[in-house]
């Protein structure tokens, strides 16, 4: 009998306590982001759209090997040994002609594993996320382009008298692709390669 009274009182009281909380919440600041008008700046490490700078790619295929879903397709031929030597931005000579470098973003799982083994840091994830498209084939990105301007002078050549200090990464030239590049992965020096070398 006493239990009945206690139940009724507790029922009433807990309802009132709950009502107090929701009343207070009527006046707190709302957390809604009004999307197209307000957009948040994503942190620079955000893993959204993949970008690859074709002029720096040496065609080693490490990124394709590291990718767990095999969404990177690379085809490279040996360069003519008599052609002008070309270099990537960090000084590595490019010995292969990358004829096909496709990334299928509809397969990509945004895990970022491809960026670490790259010896020249030419592939990285950018914070750009608004790339929805109505046609799925638009998600197959072709990065290999004809008529790309490669560096014919080694930017890190040590023999030059007025050599720039070692380790300084030169600023990347402007690219026609959207989203400016984000800085290199967290640690300086060679990025570690967790995947097979």
């Amino acid at each position: 009998m006493i239990q009945w009274f206690k139940d009724v009182w507790e029922g009433f009281w807990t309802v009132l306590v709950g009502m107090k909380i929701t009343w207070r919440h009527l006046f707190t600041q709302k957390v809604t982001l009004q999307y197209p008008e307000e957009k948040w700046q994503l942190p620079p490490k955000s893993r959204m759209r993949l970008f690859m700078k074709y002029e720096d790619c040496i065609g080693c295929g490490q990124c394709a090997r590291a990718c767990p879903v095999q969404c990177i397709y690379i085809k490279a031929d040996k360069r003519d040994p008599k052609a002008t030597p070309i270099f990537a931005a960090n000084g590595q000579p490019i010995k292969l002609d990358v004829t096909v470098f496709d990334i299928d973003m509809s397969l990509c799982c945004y895990c970022n594993l491809c960026t670490y083994p790259c010896p020249t840091d030419c592939i990285y994830m950018t914070p750009e996320y608004e790339f929805a498209t109505t046609d799925l084939t638009n998600h197959l990105y072709h990065f290999a382009k004809t008529g790309a301007k490669f560096l014919t002078v080694n930017p890190k050549a040590p023999a030059k008298p007025a050599a720039p200090p070692a380790g300084a990464a030169p600023a990347a030239p402007a690219t026609p692709k959207p989203a400016p590049p984000t800085p290199a992965p967290p640690n300086g020096g060679t990025p570690p390669a967790p995947a097979g070398a």
């Binding site: 139940d7 490490k45 955000s46 799982c109 967290p186 640690n187």
Partner: protein
């Protein structure tokens, strides 16, 4: 509609077979429940799983050891730091790598934050199933802050690929410690007491959940329930205390068990109570870990990450305490090649699902949903 094993003669005159089909209004995933009901009361229940099977274990045989980590994230997608932590620990045992205390501390911080976030979803959606819509949104607001912190650290909000074999993928950014402390302060001061007052102590919620789904200790142990499902029935079994990994022995925290204060011990209420109190305990652990972190010098999180993971021919079974229970990885390495020979996952939700047919006998249909919610199943982990 296939109804395996039940023949027409099994049905009594008033019984009917009801399908709570793969499409649910609740957010637990694609699960088909076949209920044999007599009016409103359930006589027998049979869950059908497999709608979300994505061949995780087969994929793991075709990618190399570090490449399995994105796949492990996707098993229990609500709590993916826990999955990758378990896998990384297993492979580190195979390779006999000891990570630095700095990495261990960060791993603990991330795992406990993930535990808070996962329990936010669990308790919030449970409230929604019972009919209280508001606590879900308040908890999700806080979960968004945790996910913002994860995004700040490693770039992704839900599937992180953060715990690597031998280390972590990114170091903590500047200001993380301060932001984390501030968030936890707000969580412990505002959200947590409000959750208890608004949802858990509410008499209607108590009446709905305190007498149903009672799982006695013997049943829980014999069906191998782990995590909050087991602790709700009484036994204080927690892998973080019983078999500590990644530096958990250095932290002081209590193992939360159900108390049975409103009904029999082991009811749905107790399991939810355990999850709620665990959120507060995890916040305490994160505070202690942040304190330890500030006293250490920053180390390189990529220091012990091997260039190429090629373990010798061996096998390992390694367990960790995921938010849903004991997550176990059994990895067989055959010594040749960079891919694992076999990765088998012991998923806590799978065993939790197995006790469903015992607990659901004699319940009302309305309570079935409450029961599934209280077992906190995520179909991605059951089906892999």
């Amino acid at each position: 509609m296939a109804s395996y094993g039940w023949r027409v003669d099994d049905l009594d005159t008033d019984e009917m077979i009801l399908n709570m089909g793969p499409q649910h209004p609740s957010t637990h995933g694609v699960l088909r429940l076949e209920l044999r009901t007599d009016g409103e009361v359930v006589r027998a229940a049979r869950p059908h799983i497999g709608y979300l099977h994505r061949c995780f274990e087969k994929h793991a045989e075709n990618v190399d050891y570090p490449g399995v980590i994105p796949y492990t994230d996707r098993m229990d997608y609500v709590a993916s730091m826990g999955n990758s932590l378990g896998y990384a620990l297993a492979v580190e045992t195979l390779l006999k790598i000891e990570v630095s205390p700095y990495v261990q501390t960060i791993r603990v911080i991330m795992a406990e934050l993930q535990r808070i976030a996962s329990h936010c979803v669990a308790v919030g959606t449970y409230g929604m199933d019972i009919g209280a819509f508001t606590p879900f949104l308040h908890l999700l607001r806080d979960r968004e802050k945790i996910l913002d912190m994860f995004e700040w650290t490693c770039g992704a909000r839900l599937l992180y690929n953060y715990n690597w074999v031998g280390g972590l993928s990114h170091d903590l950014p500047e200001g993380f410690v301060k932001a984390c402390r501030q968030f936890l302060r707000e969580f412990e001061a505002i959200t947590y007491p409000e959750l208890i007052d608004l949802l858990l102590k509410n008499k209607i919620f108590v009446k709905r959940t305190a007498n149903i789904g009672v799982c006695p200790v013997e049943v829980a142990v014999s069906y191998d329930l782990t995590g909050p499902n087991l602790r709700g029935s009484g036994p204080p079994r927690d892998l973080r205390k019983d078999a500590p990994y990644s530096g958990y022995e250095n932290y002081e925290f209590q193992v939360c068990v159900g108390k049975g204060e409103f009904g029999p011990l082991g009811s749905c209420f107790d399991r939810n109570w355990v999850r709620t109190v665990e959120m507060a305990e995890s916040a305490k652990i994160v505070h202690q870990a942040l304190d330890r972190l500030e006293k250490m010098e920053r180390a390189d999180v990529h220091e012990k990450v091997p260039k190429r993971v090629k373990p010798p021919k061996s096998e390992v079974y390694s367990r960790s305490e995921a938010p849903r229970g004991q997550l176990g990885y059994f990895i067989v390495a055959d010594g040749t090649g960079v891919n694992p020979y076999r990765v088998k996952v012991k998923s806590p939700c799978f065993t939790a699902m197995s006790v469903f047919h015992v607990l659901s006998r004699g319940m009302y249909i309305a309570d079935i949903i409450a029961l599934i919610g209280s077992l906190d199943v995520v179909l991605g982990e059951i089906d892999r």
